[in-house]
Amino acid sequence: MKNVDLHHGAASDVGLVRKVNEDSFLVAPPVFVVADGMGGHSGGDVASQMVVEEFQRLAESYDPTRGAEQVADTFARAQARIIDFGNAHRAMTPGWHAGTTAVVAVLVDDNGVAKWLLANLGDSRIYRITDGSLEQISVDHSVVQELIDSGEITAEEAATHPERHVITRALGSPEGIHPDFFLLPLGSVERLLLCSDGVTGMIEDKEIEEILETVADPRDAADRLVRAAVAAGGRDNATAVVVDVVGLVKDASYDSQRQLESLESKLGGRL
């Protein structure tokens, strides 16, 4: 697999209502993760951090030719840790729970061709920009998504449905985990967004598209998305990771050269 030039940015904010940011994210190219912890009582932030730690370990020894297998194994390890963590606390505090969503993007080598392998558990989301428009790739594991799929409610009704925050799959679930995977050609993704529902629950897809379309630097784009979510009320922790595939390149030096040029252009002069 040739080296792929990725530019990326990430931002996270506790919002205006919560006291604790239970979101965690990982930017360790070619591994990107956003996790939205649930549980309170310092359970959710630990659960989401556990997912990020396990994917950090994956990134350190990642084999792109075994992407799906390694991502599935990483999910399983994170699940085991969160379950252990929950059991340990439940021994002291009956009824105690911790869980987390996760959206993951990794580059994989599919017979010599680089592709995006995406994975989803819960209601954090993966979007892409392709041909200048925003498309949601992941399908929420939520009660309202099931109602939409079965035709009982519309997407508009889902935004105000009383059960809109109830998710049907998560890490930490005693039922086990069943992540959805997606495999996309690199060329079909101009820009990738991983975000928690603190972003998508506060601002419309149209605004997300507008920001991703108009803000060139992925760091600024991630920042703008999170700030827009906070400005819209910030009712939940908001986290966004934006990744651009800049182009297929032949060697690693090109990547560092591009990063340097990008930095120079931001700082307005040569370094």
Binding site: G39, G40, H41, A72, V143, T168, G187, D236
Partner: protein, 361 residues
């Protein structure tokens, strides 16, 4: 000392920051607004005191300030407020004596602080960062207090609410009246088990709720996950995801040979969606200089039910369609979304010169 705090509602303002809490009479709204900016930004006690005194001491009849340090607690009381400080050593009542500007204490080993402004209400509301209207404020854990969490946790008031009517001036009695301080029941021991160590709104869980209930008030986990639920193609039974024996072999005009032991997706830039890690589809990319082939054009997978043992092909709504020529039959155009069983010798034509021949594995 734990910095968990509770309050009883009243007319006084409590400005609660991470390190410093200032209590002012209802008439001091202007100061309250300025102090909140400071307190919210994590200002130190000195910085807050600076701002308090910026308007002059004469206009500041009554104030109480509680600052939590790493191992000590700083208290300043002027005017009417009185503070009851419980430490591991004992209990002390702090109030400004007549003629003094204020009373100040730096106390270590504090287990709880109770600031009484008016009356002796029950401190049953959680006091979190923000601004609250209070009559009594209590920090830390008086061991005699009940362990039950506040039944009705108050959301922090994030903005100063306009007063509908003029505030009653606090009792015009600059003389401190320590005798009137109610005796808070105090004893010393282990801190109570705090149900909300992070200070967030306690979750009230219904007894007997299921094993995976509501939690932090927003995102919650729901009913058990169903089995992997690939949206079925209309008119087609759910196929097994992966079969141990391939049902067919696909020979592409490009030279590729692919076994059908799971879903095979063919297109110019095919995308596979919503699969599980154990049934990742084969993805076959074919070039289409004329763009006649759609990005994800055709799916071929092992059949189920009546089609068990053979491969079935489904056009995935491609722009230019797929033509199927089965041996001995006229070529037919596949209908989008309708699966057709393939027999050995069948040829699928995707356009742009790309064909797929179906053979036995």
């Amino acid at each position: 000392m734990s910095t968990d705090a509770r309050f009883a509602p009243g007319d006084w303002y409590a400005v609660v920051g991470d390190h410093v809490t200032v209590v002012l009479p209802g008439s001091q709204r202007d100061r309250v607004a300025a102090l909140w900016d400071l307190a919210d930004a994590g200002a130190t006690a000195d910085a807050v005191l600076d701002a308090l005194l910026a308007g002059g001491l004469s206009t500041l009849d009554h104030v109480a300030l509680v600052a939590h340090g790493d191992d000590s607690t700083r208290l300043i009381v002027r005017g009417a407020p009185t503070a009851t400080v419980a430490t591991t050593e004992g209990e002390e009542i702090v109030s400004a004596s007549a003629g003094a500007a204020w009373a100040e204490r730096l106390v270590t080993g504090v287990t709880s602080v109770r600031v009484t402004l008016a009356g002796d209400g029950d401190v049953e509301h959680a006091l979190t960062a923000g601004i609250a209207r209070v009559s009594v404020v209590e920090f830390g854990t008086p061991p005699a207090a009940p362990a039950a969490p506040a039944e009705e946790p108050a959301a922090p008031v994030m903005a100063v609410e306009p007063d509908p009517e003029p505030e009653p001036e606090p009792e015009p009695e600059p003389e401190p009246t320590p005798e009137s301080v109610p005796e808070a029941p105090m004893s010393f021991g282990e801190p109570e088990d705090d149900p909300t160590p992070t200070g967030e709104t306690p979750v009230v869980e219904a007894p007997g709720a299921d094993d995976w209930p509501d939690r932090d008030g927003n995102t919650v986990a729901g009913p058990p996950a169903r089995d992997f639920d690939r949206p079925p193609i209309p008119g087609q039974e759910m196929a097994p995801e992966v079969v141990s024996d391939p049902v067919a072999s696909l020979v592409f005009s490009t030279g590729d040979v692919v076994l059908v032991d799971r879903a095979v997706l063919v297109g110019r830039a095919p995308e596979a969606r919503r699969f599980a890690s154990h049934d990742q589809p084969h993805v076959v990319t074919v070039s289409s200089p004329q763009q006649e082939i759609s990005s994800t054009h055709l799916e071929i997978r092992p059949g189920a039910g009546a089609d068990h043992g053979s491969a079935i092909a489904t056009d995935l709504g491609s722009t230019n369609g797929t033509v199927l020529a089965q041996p001995g039959l006229d070529p037919e155009e596949l209908k989008a979304g309708i699966a057709v069983s393939l027999i050995p010798g069948a040829v699928l034509d995707l356009g742009d010169g790309v064909t797929i021949q179906v053979t036995n594995p």
